[in-house]
Subunit: 341 residues, 2 copies
DNA sequence: ATTCTTTATGCAAACGTTTGAGCAACAATC
DNA sequence: GATTGTTGCTCAAACGTTTGCATAAAGAAT
């Protein structure tokens, strides 16, 4: 319980504290014999350098901060949350840093938490989730030249260290492939308009149609919250309005797609025979439902790892200012889509 | 970027650093006028006390450590993980502590990570997940009187600060109710034998039968990994072996129950008409499948909060040694079970 | 024998706080 | 006018490290 300090080790080994310190850092100013002697004592006493004291003199604490809002829209945050944290934790660890996790009740308070961490010097840098991240905050951090990395995309700030996936391309590629499978009348079930992800995914859809020279039908674009219920309701309504003229539902999130799946089932439509369905994110549930949901998988964990890695590099390498890393996505084909004859 | 220190504030306010410090702690040794003057300067310079320096002198860093293994059995960890972290984070924050998150690749390395955090004094106390937590580790921490709280239950060590739910009672109550609904031949799909949760849940099942004086049929007890696939395979096999003689499947985890649901569907059995199904944990997917899965919900988030709260109390109150907090569970009735006529 | 290098170590200051002890200045008591 | 008490502040040590500089010892070069 009582802490063994460098002085205890020094006394026991009959050297000065500075010598012990230099043994720890494996300085070549210390003779082999002394090193051995000191190392033995350290082991015997179970000595571990006090990280706090170290941080104080080094002016660096070897820890990264992750700030996440934990608001009510749990549905969106959930699968993402797990993987992103795991990834970041893994990356952080690999770089021999610690991870401080701060959460905030709201997006607004998120900034306060961030600033608190920063100002009190509890972390050397920050990983921020882009979802709706406060623009002012990012501005401030940039201005102060404070190390940070963004996960995701913030519309207003493009020249910023970040790791992301290309939502536009992911959807565009998927839709293009779906068109080649024979689908033509594709409903797009988008998330809320004010999310950058929503806008990007929708754009991918439009670009694919444009390229394939398929006329764009505005009534097929629909907005809903990122939730199962919202997807269900919207899909049900769509199905009854346009039943003759749609053959696939593209959900901008798996939850939306799962809602649509349920709506199809309710209507007695066979999936994929009567209508195809595709989602986004490869939520765990996507593989558990029946038929399995075709979806687009983002390697979220890897994104977290990359972010941590990049942040450490920004912190440690004076000249490195960060970059934009785009992680490729992948379509996971399951039974909810098929080749149309 | 450059840090504003207490000395800068002192100089600017024409007082000594100690005075500034006492203003921060709102000591009554400082006059109202001086306090105001100093506070103004602090605000003007944007001063925030350096947490590291503070920790060094206080011998306390105001942060809690959470160590989690992130092994391959992602399925089990997943829904739990999210909520537990959110809860712990919320609790930690409310107590004005920070949260350090360390993950380990394996259960074995979990101990190393823990000891590292502890020895280097990066945290004031630990929250441990019980799943398979290393017994030796717990022994050591207890012996050293190092503050920690366990979430879940470790069989060997009962007199330990922890927050948990009562798995035995939860299952027993559920089974008792199910019996009263008319179910009688209940398959129990257990998790791996070496998990304490598995054993407890199974025991709840047996106690309920015993109390209702229903003969125990050993062939109805089956073990599987906590996974969807394992549940599916086991259930499929059971269904073909005992199709006349079972009317409900109790999955010790939602994934197992979902697998069983799928197996029933494959066989063309109607749920709940032909067979009832119940799970455990109220995984997000439980409400997304059709029919909705009846399940037992643990308020995981609340458990995390309680754990954080208790840990802080242990740290701060000399005399308080912690306690055992049992959080009640709740049955969530959905369509996969019904009153049998 | 003297000076110069080299090697191995110790000294002391610094990092930014907190806090017990000390001390002026003034008021209250006799 | 001396004594005591109170108020409001400052001084300096301490927390456990790291690191630039000084220095002692030993050997090499003159």
């Amino acid at each position: 319980m009582d802490q063994v300090t460098i002085k205890d080790v020094a006394k026991e080994a009959e050297v000065s504290p500075s010598t012990v310190s230099r043994v720890i850092s494996d300085s070549d100013q210390i003779s082999f014999q002394t090193k051995e002697k000191v190392k033995n004592v350290m082991k015997r006493l179970g000595y571990q350098p006090n990280a706090i004291a170290r941080s104080l003199v080094n002016q660096r604490c070897n820890s990264l901060g992750l700030v996440m809002a934990r608001p009510t829209d749990r549905a969106l945050a959930n699968p993402f949350f797990t993987d992103i944290i795991q990834g970041i934790a893994a990356g952080t660890q690999r770089e021999n840093y610690s991870l401080m996790l701060a959460t905030a009740e709201s997006y607004q308070r998120e900034s306060e938490e961030v600033l608190n961490l920063v100002k009190t010097r509890q972390v050397d840098g920050l990983i921020l989730m882009a979802s709706r991240t406060n623009g002012e905050l990012i501005n401030n951090l940039t201005k102060e030249n404070y190390p940070f990395v963004l996960i995701g995309r913030s519309q207003k700030y493009s020249e910023i260290p970040r790791v992301d996936n290309n939502n536009i391309k992911a959807v565009k590629d998927a839709v293009t492939t779906l068109l080649s499978l024979g689908y033509r009348d594709i409903v797009f079930l988008s998330g809320p308009k004010d999310f950058v992800v929503s806008q990007d995914r929708l754009q991918g859809y439009r670009e694919a149609l444009l390229e394939a020279e398929i006329p764009f039908r505005p009534e097929l674009i629909n907005y809903a919250d990122f939730s199962y219920e919202a997807g269900f309701k919207k899909a049900r309504q769509l199905f009854s309005n346009y039943q003759q003229n749609i053959d696939l539902v593209f959900g901008a999130d798996d939850l939306l797609a799962l809602g649509a799946l349920r709506a199809a089932e309710e209507r007695g439509w066979q999936v994929p025979e009567d209508i195809g369905i595709i989602g986004f994110n490869d939520t765990p549930a996507a593989s558990l439902v029946h038929p399995g949901l075709t979806t687009i998988k983002i390697p979220i964990k890897k994104m977290g790892e990359k972010a941590a890695q990049m942040l450490v590099k920004i912190i440690e390498e004076e000249s490195y200012q960060g970059e934009e890393i785009i992680i490729p996505t992948e379509i996971v084909w399951r039974e909810s889509t098929a080749q149309k004859e």
